[in-house]
């Protein structure tokens, strides 16, 4: 027998199909809790989005001041305290399906704490889904379905230190733990700060994902000059004049043609050899541009690694961009691999994949010159068209305000952790229909490790506590005190060694 939580009361606003208030009779109601009530249409599921306590003895300030502390002694004030919960109906279970709420319940209807099975069913959680944590106030695991969570892209947004990387690590653990039967996808993470390189390190104290992880140091990456899309090179060499660009592209086309004829792939030196034939002034200018390209130490005859090696089912490939200083180089790597992966996926040459972009606002900024956002157009295309080809984006950002609105809007599922910056909150509100003023206020008051998920993956915005990670912690997960102590102890050790040596 379910425990009655409260009774629907009649107010000026309702009960209506979009709002019900109920007085809490017994037990505890919390903001973000799921409740249910049975009425003529079926079983209504609602979420408590506000709680108000009232007491008529304390309504008038003059009486409260005059009688003061004697009020509770002389009058049954405690008996007149009521907890009013405001809930937003989310849907109605009928015999066959879940419908949106179109008819209000009657005042006096009994309100119950929502049944766990009903919550799972209503939120469309999946037994084989991704265990991200536990729904607050209910004994229900937040296990959204893989396709619903990722197919229409996912954005994980939070301020710095709110637990983004932790949440992403949990997500990666879930992706890597999937079996063949459950369906495995390839995950390629562009890791700006080397947060996920720990997945590639063998461990005995934590769950070891090293066999399923490949960490690639971006400093060792080589991109095939022959395969770089012309528009990307065009943006990259923005300081060349149209004539210089025309000549350069003519040479590259010629070399590509010869490559296909059996001469084999070419490199910067091959272009230089052809540039020698041009008139001296033009050749000098192009040689300067080629010098710039060469200095990046990024171009070779073939891709290393090639996309077929980084996109394997059930494998996490972490492209560690931490060692790179040049923003341009990072941009080019992300742009090139995104483009190639998407193109390969369209031709079904690689398995379905999720492309994880850390600090996404740097790669898909809202407004920056084209040459500074090389990856923007490709990632936008993936955001728009990726669903059809099972190419998913996982965007992670601490500055949603600076993230391209179109791309963010195409991320149909958002996991939002604590954000306090009002500009960022406004931006999220603009790009996500599911966030209203109530949710917005709740986002800013979330604690570290608490998150709200909304969008395609769940039927209603839901708060949950991110589960504990089982993989080894990131090297960045350390406090300021710990770092300071470690630095001091390292220094002491070094001094001791020098003394011992001397």
């Amino acid at each position: 027998m379910k425990e009655v939580l409260g009774t629907v009361v009649s107010t000026i606003e309702g009960p209506s199909p979009s709002r019900i208030d109920f007085v809490v009779n017994s037990g505890k109601a919390h903001k973000g809790m799921f409740v249910e009530l049975v009425y003529s249409e079926g079983t209504m599921i609602a979420m408590v989005d506000e709680l108000i306590k009232t007491n008529r003895y304390f309504e008038r300030p003059d009486s409260v001041k005059t009688i003061g502390e004697e009020l509770e002694k002389n009058f049954p004030a405690a008996d007149w305290e009521f907890l009013i919960a405001k809930a937003k109906p989310l849907g109605v279970f009928t015999d066959k399906l879940i419908q949106r709420s179109t008819f209000p319940p009657s005042p006096g209807a009994k309100v119950y704490v929502a049944d766990n099975e009903h919550i799972k069913k209503f939120l469309k959680l999946d037994e084989d889904g991704m265990n991200l944590g536990q729904i607050q106030f209910h004994d229900v695991l937040m296990k959204p379905n893989l396709s619903k969570l990722l197919q229409k892209h996912l954005a994980i947004l939070a301020m710095s230190g709110a637990g983004k990387s932790y949440c992403v690590s949990v997500l990666l653990e879930e992706l890597l733990s999937r079996t063949d039967e459950q369906g495995q996808i390839a995950v390629i993470a562009f890791d700006t700060h080397g947060e996920y390189t720990c997945f590639g390190e063998p461990t005995k104290t934590h769950t070891d994902f090293s066999s399923k992880t490949r960490v690639i140091d971006a400093r060792n990456i080589k991109l095939s000059l022959a395969k770089i899309p012309r528009y990307l090179l065009d943006k990259f060499l923005s300081n060349l004049t149209p004539v210089q660009k025309r000549e350069l592209f003519r040479i590259i086309s010629k070399l590509s043609q010869e490559m296909k004829s059996g001469v084999g792939p070419f490199n910067i030196n091959s272009i230089r050899a052809e540039v020698k034939e041009l008139e001296p002034k033009l050749a000098t200018a192009l040689n300067f541009a080629l010098d710039d390209l060469e200095r990046l130490n990024l171009f070779g005859k073939i891709d290393d690694p090639s996309i077929l090696e980084i996109a394997k089912p059930g494998q996490l490939t972490v492209i560690d961009l931490n060692g790179l200083i040049s923003q341009k180089k990072k941009q080019l790597i992300v742009a090139y691999f995104s483009e190639k992966l998407f193109s390969a996926r369209r031709q079904m040459r690689v398995p379905p994949f999720a492309l994880l972009i850390e600090e996404a606002h740097n790669f898909i900024p809202e407004s920056t010159a084209a040459e500074h956002a090389l990856a923007k157009s490709t990632l936008r295309t993936i955001a728009r068209e990726g669903r059809k080809f099972c190419a998913s984006l996982i965007l992670i950002s601490q500055r949603p305000k600076r993230l391209d609105v179109t791309t963010l809007a195409n991320c149909n599922t958002n996991i939002i952790l604590r954000i306090t910056n009002p500009n960022d909150l406004d931006h999220i509100k603009q790009s996500s229909e599911g966030v209203d003023s109530n949710s917005s206020s709740m986002i800013s008051s979330l604690r570290v490790g608490e998150a709200m998920i909304m969008g395609e993956a769940v039927s209603a915005p839901t708060f949950f506590k991110v589960r504990e990670r089982t993989s080894a912690p990131s090297k960045h997960e350390t406090t300021l005190e710990e770092s300071a102590k470690k630095f001091a102890s390292d220094k002491e050790k070094q001094d001791d060694e020098i003394d011992a040596f001397l």
Partner: protein, 493 residues
Amino acid sequence: MPTHKYLVKLKYLCEKNEIYAYFRNTREQTVKRFSFYPYFILQKDLDAKKVQELLFDFKIKNFSIEQNNGRNKIVSSSFDTLKKISKVLAKTTNKKHLVLAPERTFLLEKNWSYFDTFSFESSDAFEKISRRKDFGFHLIPEIAFEEALCLNEKQTSFLVEQSVFSTLLRVPLAKVPKTIQEKTEILLENIFFVNGGIISWKNDEAFYSYNEFAPFGEYDSISKIDFAVIWPQLFSKNFFNIGQETMNCSCCKPVKLDDTNLLPSSRIEVTFNEDDSFFESSSNTFTLEFHKNNSGKEFRKQKRREFCLRNYPIGPTKKDFSAKVPLDDAKQLLDNNIAILGKKHLPQWFCLKKESFLSKEIRLVNEKSFEEKKQTLKKEDNLFEKLSFADLFSSTLINSMNSLLQELPFQLTNPLSSFFEPKLAKAIISIQESTLAKFTKFSEKKGYRVLHVNRKNAFVKGFSSLTLTKSFSEELAIPQPQIASFSKQTKLI
């Protein structure tokens, strides 16, 4: 006064065990008779007594084993018996001895050749002398050579060329083969016969021969660089002293990767530092061998297709996995920190002390060619003089010696040749591949573009390749490859 005559014909009479040698000049012909018993040299590691017992068991009697210059040779009164003995030894010892026609054996023994010049003091006293050849009367008896040259230059030159090969190969004019491969095979027979080299090998070692495909289409501004000219020199003692008796000798075993006598065909064990990486090998044959014998074929095919590679890449590597790779690849991998050096290597090296007989023969032919060149240069001072038979013979001789020498490495690596031995062939090919890979790398470093290389030629973009070949030769301290041609538009074959 002595008269000069040319050795024009030899005839072996088996019933008399005699060789009739015919010497001719424009006026007369002299026939000399020499007692001769056909023979072949017994291989060093075969014990003479045991061979004798073995042959007695096979009821072969009319032979003897004689010692000559520290070597045993089997002599028989019958050439057929000698061939039978060779067959018996091949079956029982798995080592086939080279049995040449008695006439050729005779010439090799005497170090004579067809059309050698002899000075006759009297009918009994005669000796071989070095003199410009002028035996056009023998080839074209009806008219003067110069006249024949005017009437049909092609046919006349062909006759001269045949006589040159007859001289070089010690075969009668009518038996000079058509193709350069067959001619080189005869040259090898002579070299191996004289030096007692083994010609039948246990060919149980896997050998991969790589088909080279030239890029299709025509290319503009191409220099064709001829590498075939440097191979014979590279296989002489100054560079790679390779030969059956000088490979993996016990006296000069190398101890480190930089040792000069370590051959590029050595397999060096390396342990990879990375998973799933690929690299391009400097050796086409190793690439093919690796591709056929290792997993990941589809990855390699895919990678080759994706990047239009000329060859399959080597990989995908596995971390902590060890593999034996060619010397140059190992050095490259170690330099780039892609792998660390293992312990179980398969080194191949050549002797630094004793010169191989192949090297000696190459040196001798080179010296002979140089001498001829000197004489031709002297003669060329008078440009208005008519082209004589001696001039044409001399220039054809130089060209033919070069073409035979250049074909030598290719014949030794041809599995259809009797002198093919996988280990030696691999060593030769590895030297060629290594040199060409170094040339490609060097060219790229110097801003040149190498469009295609095969074992004979390299095709370089632009017409300034002379500087390139010169600097390459200086940098690697090897003979300088020659420019074969410059073409405004050409195919890369």
